[in-house]
């Protein structure tokens, strides 16, 4: 088999200036060169050039990166250390494949139906009132810290996944001005169903007929994080095929991670002659929901939210898609809502996909910095358009005993339109 190796251009020209150390969340917590972008680039290079063994510890440093991409942004040479860490995971995975990844990313996560079954116990936990009971009896406090955090991280789980409830076609309220596709992400469907339902209402209210294909697979980010580019490409081809048949002008998602991944389908499939062009056509249609809403004339919401809101930039939105003005603009449309800028708003929250579980301590340290900043704003609402960030932030706030509502900015917009009952 042909093993795909990170290209020389991905590391060769690092001048070791150290600018990236200033913006790296893991470096900032550990103050250790090994946990810095420059360190990871040096290790990758030495590993690839044979000066160091490709040891488990070397690869572990690549998994220590939170992929917040701040280093990609600041590098004056154009090296992308965060991308290189992902390329190294991919490289290693081809040499040392791990069975559980095939099972998890290929067998389970890729299939919406199987994920729904797998998460059924969680829904029962919520639905049968076990969760309430656990909290009433204080049983949650008996759990060890890490498990307790994971339990707390679960949002109020919807009774049914949104994918099962949502109609395939949501008609525009009033005159149809756009025909758009909606990419319903796994986390949104399984855990944040009400937010995506709200997003669809906002689109429909603004003249969109929305088609939500149910047969989409996972966007591919989890597989990418674990070095399974083969699965990412398989999922990409599947999703491109699904949307190709729909005849839509835009492909919209309300998940920062899905959006940034979908927008990369073009580069993922660039050397696949059969798919490159299709992937490129797909890619240019993709919009984050706040990005799309900013491009079209919006109905001014009639309702009010008299409260103070702040906004956390998800890495996959701020740097993954260069979308950061738009969500702030949406929030400013809402009557009564006072916006206060979050200090270091674009600093990673430490969720980083699964790192919050696999790199629990680092994740918590990064989160603490974020929470300190949230506290400074004295806001009661923290808006952020990423399910990963939302879970992480909610847990942290709960742990500190702060009553701050964490919510997707478009959900707030929906509420100011009157929500499900609004006109």
């Amino acid at each position: 088999m042909n093993i795909v190796k990170p290209a020389e251009s991905e590391y060769q020209n690092c001048m070791r200036c150290g600018l990236c150390l200033a913006v790296c969340p893991t470096y900032r917590e550990y103050l250790n060169e090994t946990a810095s972008p420059r360190g990871r680039v040096a290790l990758a290079r030495k590993g690839l050039e044979g000066q160091l063994a490709l040891s488990p510890n070397l690869i572990e440093q690549m998994y220590g990166c939170f992929d917040c991409m701040a280093c990609n942004d600041i590098c004056p040479v154009g090296i992308r250390p965060a991308d290189l860490a992902l390329s190294m995971r991919h490289f290693d995975e081809q040499i040392h494949p791990e069975k559980w990844k095939q099972w998890l990313f290929g067998g389970l996560i890729a299939h919406a139906r199987r994920m729904e079954l797998a998460t059924l116990p969680l829904r029962l936990y919520e639905r049968l009132g076990i969760r309430r009971l656990v909290y009433m009896l204080g049983l949650n406090r008996l759990l060890p810290g890490r498990i307790r955090d994971l339990e707390a991280m679960l949002p109020r789980i919807p009774q049914r996944p949104l994918r099962r409830i949502l109609p395939r076609v949501t008609k525009a309220y009033g005159e149809e001005r756009y025909r758009v596709g909606f990419f319903l992400g796994c986390a949104q469907s399984l855990l944040f169903a009400s937010q995506s339902a709200a997003a669809l209402r906002v689109l429909a209210r603004n003249g969109c007929t929305v088609i939500t294909p149910k047969e989409v697979k996972c966007c591919g980010m989890p597989a990418r994080s674990y070095g399974r580019m083969d699965l990412v490409k398989e999922q990409a081809r599947h999703n491109i095929k699904v949307f190709d048949g729909l005849n839509v002008d835009f492909i919209i998602t309300d998940c920062a991670t899905c959006g940034s991944t979908l927008k990369q389908y073009g580069s993922f499939l660039a050397d696949d002659s059969e798919w490159a062009e299709r992937a490129d056509r797909f890619r240019i249609k993709v919009r984050d929901i706040s990005e799309f809403l900013d491009e079209i004339p919006l109905r001014k919401p009639a309702g009010r939210i008299d409260d103070k809101v702040t906004y956390h930039d998800p890495c996959h939105l701020r740097r993954g898609q260069n979308v950061w003005k738009q969500p702030r603009k949406l929030l400013s449309l809402i009557n009564g809502l006072e916006f206060v800028e979050l200090p270091e708003a674009d600093w990673c929250c430490g969720s980083a996909g699964s790192q919050l579980i696999t790199h629990y301590d680092a994740s918590r340290k990064v989160l603490d910095r974020k929470l300190d900043n949230v506290e400074k704003t004295k806001a009661h609402i923290l808006a952020s358009g990423c399910p990963g960030c939302q879970m992480q932030l909610t847990t942290g706030l709960k742990r500190r005993g702060l009553s701050v509502r964490v919510v997707h900015p478009v959900t707030l917009l929906d509420e100011s339109y009157g929500g499900a009952n609004g006109k």
Binding site: Q12, N13, C14, M15, R16, C17, G18, L19, C20, L21, A22, L31, N32, E33, T34, S36, G39, A42, L43, K46, Q51, L52, A53, S55, N57, L58, Q61, C75, P76, V77, G78
Partner: protein, 462 residues
Amino acid sequence: MENRTIERFARIVGRDNVLSSPEDLAAYSYDGTFFEGVPELVVLPQTTEQTAEIVKVAAAGRIPVIARGMGSGLAAGSIPIPGGGVVVCFTRMNRILEIDVENSAARVQAGVVTSALQGEVEKLGLFYPPDPSSIRHSTIGGNIACNAGGPRCLKYGVTSNYVLGLTAVLADGRILKTGGKPIKDVTGYNLTALFASSEGTLGLITEALLRLVARPRYVRTALVEFDSLANASRSVNAILEEGIVPASLELMDQTAIACIEEAMHLGLRTDVEASLIVETDGSDEQTVVREIEAASRICRAAGARSARVAWDEAERTGLWAARRSISPSLARKAPNKLGEDITVPRGAIPEVVERLKAISSKYGLPIVIFGHAGDGNLHPNILFDKRKPEEYEKVEQMVREIFTAALELGGTLSGEHGVGVLKRPYLEQALGPVSVDVQRSIKHSLDPMNILNPGKIFEIKD
């Protein structure tokens, strides 16, 4: 390194603050240059006392001790050569211990990041002027050990001008305290000045007492573009001769401008041969504005194509971010670069610029010129490809000629990077045998076993 020795270090600083895996050691084998040397161990102390204990253990085993901060140095000063030894990394000693507003002083641990300190003191209306391009990724300890400069040195002076006192661990583990809050202090030798720019060869700086000044309330920054590099360098002196002392007066040539434009997309014009960034500051807005306008006028009279004052704070910050990125962004033009740091009396700036151009065309390798023209400190960067042996050979000859040019014009090798390894071979040419001999005696009396950053500044004698 023997496990027993590693254990002794671990008992001092705790297991989490000792790094010994091959990956960790590799990550501590470099700095901001292309030099490398792998240490045997990395320890990250949290207090002066721990540092003293570390040095005692090292001294007992005659183990070299290499002080390091964030590793942004440009002279290979914090790299273990000829390999081995223990790197003492101060990044986890990053507490600001005191900001004394009444006496305009700050007491900090060595690992405090320079821009973090600046941010804190500015909240209180105070100002810590030294601003090396690495302000966000270098530490106070490293800044002092290399006597770092930066654009603002023209008006405000270099790091050592702001060091009131130091705490340093000596080669035998004793703790030395120098200076204090009084501004005037002539009681005995000026050891504070001696340790500033000692590059970790005389002791390990663990704490510093820094002098602060009042924060200038107004700042104006202008970008001046020239069709001729010679005119740009002549304008530098024309401005200063008018009695205007800008905070900064930075020169960058066409290649430097092209590189930062490519990296940062600021909309800089890349068809000009050189630009100056001029910044004036002070507590009186009218004076600050009048000075920047006068500087712009002088530049225009000297042939500038345009002179424009930054519109707002965002544009100003953008300009400075760009200026700070020049050095690394040169990697876009060639696989390797060697950045020099010569300083000449500022009257000689036009002359040295011409000589640099001549050296470049003689050898056929580009020299990018930028730097703090106002204080005579330039960073000629030779672009080359290390994989081509004939190019590397040329680079060595070019470096020699650049140094010779600087010395002939009454200048010196390094304005703010330090000697480290890179400028070591030229030390005697620059200083003469007597000065080198005196410096070696100082080194020997403070570190007779030569365990503190051996091989830096001076070659190791057998």
